[in-house]
Symmetry: C2
Subunit: 257 residues, 2 copies
Amino acid sequence: MKISIIGTGNLGWHLANVLEEAGHTIIDIYSRNSQQAKNSASKLYSAKGTDSLDFSDSIADVFMVAVADDAIASIASEIILPEKAIIAHTSGTRSIMDLEACTNPKGIFYPLQTFTKSKKVDWSTIPICIEATDVATDVTLTKLAESLSKFVYFLDAAQRKKLHLSAVFASNFSNHLLRIAKELLASQDVPFEILKPLIIETIDKALINGPENSQTGPAIRKDLQTIQTHLDELRLEPQKQEIYRLMTKAIMDNKSI
Amino acid sequence: MKISIIGTGNLGWHLANVLEEAGHTIIDIYSRNSQQAKNSASKLYSAKGTDSLDFSDSIADVFMVAVADDAIASIASEIILPEKAIIAHTSGTRSIMDLEACTNPKGIFYPLQTFTKSKKVDWSTIPICIEATDVATDVTLTKLAESLSKFVYFLDAAQRKKLHLSAVFASNFSNHLLRIAKELLASQDVPFEILKPLIIETIDKALINGPENSQTGPAIRKDLQTIQTHLDELRLEPQKQEIYRLMTKAIMDNKSI
């Protein structure tokens, strides 16, 4: 397929590269910053970088809008597309209606993964969630998704929103807990690597047996003495202490369910 | 070496088995519950189950106290050991002084891992933290640890306490976040498995690049609109909402450091 990418952020960059690897042709790369658009395009086989949203002469079949959530609607209202081209955004939180200012067939192509430019990811295992305003668009976006990943899901807006929210807990908040752990260790000159086997086993158990069957530690044991020792140890770090108190209470409350 | 295990909980069970696999001989298995002691002992090569703490006739060199933190001191005050035998507890939080009622050489042998009876773990990668009251005990416990794992650490009491606290954040609290994620998905009939690649990549990135360089999501982007949508979505679940608010604030506050 012939595809254009709107946006040169982490996701846009990964998407352009993996689509090209999968045999598709990237036609246009758009960024507000003309130089950035050209830089990104120059790393691809035959893409053209541009800072104009007038694509009336483009030969692309699908335009992927991979920009910040807040910018989707304004892109949709300014963009000019060839008559039959599909416009799809890549956001987990935004509705298909964010694209309504554009009269072309509309869809959502949401890959559930955390992207950083410096780290290659294995797209074949990334869940891609599809939504579309019509059957033909659904078919096209599904084909595109299946050319990248073995895991294609059809989620409605409510499901996708919940998925995005759950990903914030599972990924963003977990990462912050690891940051706290690293800071606590650093204060006693203990290397973060010491936690690696524990972290890997924790995740492994939660994924295999379910997190509801895998909880260990002082909170689930209602070991109040250890909990108090930990809270005392955190007395000079009120935010970490508050997180400790709240998470411990949540685990204790959950036990009885 | 000849080893006796005090306690038949998760850790006691794993320890007895892996020590036997590593070529050591398990002499005694103690539990307050005589039947449980005998059951556990019967699964080992030549161990004897008992509910008595009088080990004056035992031929074991090392007694591993793998019981609940609160029970360590009372075990130490009741136990009767052969003259030169070492007593070591396996707790991450308790001091070596919890053993002071026992006059034998004392140590700590703390394996940093989360154990469940049903799941075998790879001991060769588990960090084992050693502390001892004298050099001979240190040497013996270190040899024992090295017979199980490639990663033996010498941590003082303050370091070990901080390590245990950091493990609660990294393991217990992370597991609870995964539980919340699973519950959110279940409310919309989305399978938990969809999060698996994201979770694995998140942990991978945090371990390779450091969690402080890996944060993504609405909080670090200060995407207030998405954050408000998420808080609204959680309005009927006040505890999850409170966790969301606190973790988001913590990530935002940390950004400026």
